[in-house]
């Protein structure tokens, strides 16, 4: 008998057809669970998700969700989200109209042989060193998701002790509006 391999998931940095939803929610307990639960039960895929208190208005938070628009029609995702009572406003930013940024933090094992080349990688990618000790270096990059992807690829030549990415946040480019805006 052939035992099937367990499904380990696939790692890809950006779904084929992604959209960025910027969702303003009431800053109340359980709201993130409501949003995540909605995606799970409707079979919508979340690629990345970032949450933080929203600008000026302390009672709201902004959730930036990168959705896989292959998994469900975007219209359904937006309309179902809008039905959540705690969701105040949604804007959908098409990738070509978006300024997307993400933060990458990584701790890399170093030795005398590779320190110089690592510093080159840091320099050429626009990353910065934020912590150093005798055996390792922690670096950070704030940049486009593509730049983070590229850095991650280059770091494959080193021993990475830890690598964290925040998931992206986005704003429309100046002069571009969000596609669907359900206003507050």
């Amino acid at each position: 008998m052939n035992t099937p391999e367990p499904f380990l998931g696939v790692t890809s940095h950006t779904p084929v057809r992604h959209h960025i939803l910027s969702v303003m929610v009431e800053n109340k307990a359980g709201v993130l669970a409501r949003v995540a639960g909605l995606f799970a039960r409707r079979g919508f895929n979340i690629y990345s998700l970032a949450v933080a208190p929203a600008e000026t208005k302390a009672r709201f938070s902004r959730i930036t969700i990168v959705v896989d628009a292959e998994s469900a029609p975007l219209e359904q995702i937006v309309e179902q989200l809008d039905k959540l009572v705690n969701v105040v406003a949604i804007s959908d930013i098409a990738p070509k109209d978006a300024l997307e940024r993400e933060l990458l933090l990584a701790t890399i094992k170093t030795n005398v042989d590779n320190r110089t080349s690592l510093l080159d990688v840091v320099g050429s990618s626009g990353a910065a060193i934020v912590d150093v000790d005798a055996k390792s270096v922690t670096l950070m990059l704030a940049g486009t998701p593509a730049a983070c992807d590229e850095l991650e690829r280059e770091l494959e030549n080193y021993t990475t002790l830890e690598l964290h990415r925040t998931g992206r946040v986005a704003l429309p480019r100046l002069g571009k509006a969000a596609l669907i805006a359900i206003p507050d």
Binding site: A33, E79, V85
Partner: protein, 570 residues
């Protein structure tokens, strides 16, 4: 005025005009049951919390007002999850109050703690965990506002015990702004452009069908529907959720569409060139195989919930509105389709060729379940409300009862919850004591919630229950017969175990049995003469009867199977 949180909770329910609460007390909700003694609100003490939820649903469906249930934390709360899910699927306005363990104990696995707001997140329109006594009025007012506006649905309010026990200065929200719901916008102004685009489609239509769903009942649009249908002459179909929205006796009514719909209703939709969906949601039980559903029809989709648009079927014109407002706007513009004479000729031919039929009642053998339903309907007072369980008997009730007005059909559609019938009938009767309420139930369904007849007897709520006792989980049996080579797996129940007459009597009801046509008529007459206690009739029906017409699950509606007797001619 200083009140305890518990007093504020009861007073808030009074402010919302609540006349009856269905519930059962326990530790965490105990403080609230004390001020209830001094309240004008009637409390109906159920025997199982599932009963409380379905009673509240039956109350809402029969009266159009929100149903209210109140239970304790932990198992009390989980017992009412099924009715909440049911109300969510059928967009029934419900407010459910649950007790919760004290705030400091939340998250510690305290006695009878459960995360009921987490459990019901996906099956409520919204829910609240109340964090202070001062917030109770706002939470209750918001719950009623959310449950009853836009697309209605269940809302749960979870109230920890320390909060109902603490003091607050009484206040009550006086405006919607005070409810603090910045993300909730249940209605919008009618979009005149879309109304006109729809009128353009109507003008071109030669084979239109008014596809009427539960939203038409929810928006109280029956009068507007009748006016629009009569002025335009269009045929009407009413889904399982919309029975009663348009009179069954009306010549333009083709009946119910869908898996067990009338042949003419199903085929008229299939052949239509314009489908006007009024508060319906293209459920799979209506559409059958989606790509084959009404393939040549343009679609006008009217719904208050815009998430329904393009979910299943792409709409040519989607109008976010309650149904009544759109029909009024179309009437004001005198929207008219083409001459429908040819269309009606076709429809009438289908109606004539394939009416609802069943085999003749036989005097010595078992009863035909369809004949039992027809006979009860014929002997029933006008305006009788009918509740049902889920299964074959439900389909026969929908097919063979003649519904003439809104609020007379109380049923579990989207969820298909067995055991809904008896408690829902009790709730309906509690809300409409002036009406006769029959529950057409299955033997399987009856066994799931029959204990609520004790509640009915104790509370003086005299419903009538007709068990179509076919000794089987009949609907499942039908599928096994038709699609699993008659390999019957775990569907036999026995006609005699339990003894339904003795069981009814033990619960303080009148129990009757009918095994042939003469006994059937006598039992119905006896039941109709009893108006002080609940009556249960055990009708022994033929277990081989199947529901027709039928569209097999996943099949195209074009492949509708009519009654075997009608097949040669098909």
């Amino acid at each position: 005025m200083q009140l305890t949180g518990a007093q504020a909770l009861i007073k808030s329910l009074e402010m919302e005009g609540v006349e009856v609460v269905f519930g059962l007390p326990g530790g965490a909700i105990l403080p609230v049951y004390d001020p209830l003694i001094d309240s004008s609100i009637r409390h109906v003490l159920v025997r199982h919390e599932q009963g409380a939820g379905h009673m509240a649903e039956g109350y809402a469906l029969a009266t159009g007002r929100p149903g209210v249930a109140m239970v304790t934390s932990g198992p009390g709360a989980t017992n009412i999850v099924t009715p909440i899910g049911n109300a969510h699927m059928d967009s029934t306005p419900l407010v459910v109050i649950t007790g919760q363990v004290a705030t400091a104990a939340i998250g510690t696995d305290a006695f009878q703690e459960c995360d009921i707001t987490g459990i019901t997140m996906g099956i409520t329109k919204h829910n609240f965990l109340v964090k202070s006594a001062h917030e109770i009025p706002r939470a209750v007012a918001a719950a009623f506002h959310i449950a009853t506006t836009g697309r209605p649905g269940p809302v749960l309010v979870d109230v920890p015990k320390d909060i109902t026990q603490s003091m607050m200065e009484w206040w009550y929200p006086e405006s919607i702004e005070e409810l603090d719901l910045p993300g909730y916008h249940p209605t919008v102004d009618l979009d005149a452009d879309r109304v006109n685009q729809a009128i353009e489609l109507i003008k071109d239509a030669e084979r239109p069908v008014l596809y009427v769903g539960g939203g038409t009942l929810k928006s109280h649009a029956s009068a507007q529907l009748l006016a629009f249908a009569e002025r335009t002459g269009m045929p009407v179909v009413t889904t399982l959720m919309a029975r009663g929205a348009f009179p069954d006796s009306h010549p333009q009514h083709l009946g119910m569409p869908g898996m067990h719909g009338m042949y003419s209703a199903v085929i008229a939709i299939q052949k239509s060139d314009l489908l006007i969906s009024l508060g319906a949601r293209f459920d799979d039980r209506v559409t059958g195989k989606i790509p084959a559903f009404a393939p040549n029809a343009k679609v006008i989709h009217v719904d208050i919930d815009k998430a329904e648009f393009n979910k299943v079927r792409r709409a040519d014109v989607a109008i976010r509105s309650n149904v009544a407002a759109v029909l009024e706007a179309w009437d004001a513009e005198r929207a008219m389709p083409q001459n429908l004479e040819v269309w009606w000729k076709e429809i009438d031919a289908w109606r004539e060729a394939y009416p609802l039929v069943y085999d003749e009642p036989n005097d010595d053998g078992l009863l035909r379940p369809q004949f039992v339903v027809e006979s009860i309907a014929k002997a029933a007072a006008p305006g009788t409300i009918v509740a049902s369980g889920v299964g074959q008997h439900q389909m026969w009730a929908s097919q063979f009862w003649k519904f003439e007005e809104p609020g007379t059909w109380v049923n579990s559609g989207g969820a298909g919850t067995m055991g809904f019938g008896v408690p829902a009938a009790i709730g309906a009767k509690a809300g409409r004591p002036d009406r006769v309420v029959w529950c057409i139930d299955g033997d399987g369904c009856f066994q799931m919630t029959a204990q609520e007849l004790v509640t009915a007897r104790a509370e003086g709520i005299p419903i009538k229950v007709a068990i179509l006792n076919n000794a089987y989980l009949g609907m499942v049996r039908q599928w096994q017969e038709m699609f699993y080579d008659e390999r019957y797996s775990e569907v036999y129940l026995s006609p005699d175990l339990p003894d339904y007459v003795k069981w009814a009597e033990a619960m303080g009801c009148v129990g009757l049995r009918a095994t042939n046509v003469a006994e059937m008529h006598a039992a119905i007459a006896t039941a109709n003469s009893i108006n002080d206690v609940p009556v249960v009739i055990d009708f022994r029906t033929d277990s081989s009867e199947k529901v027709f017409p039928m569209v097999a699950a996943g099949a195209s509606n074009d492949d509708i199977m009519v009654h075997p007797r009608q097949r040669e001619s098909q």
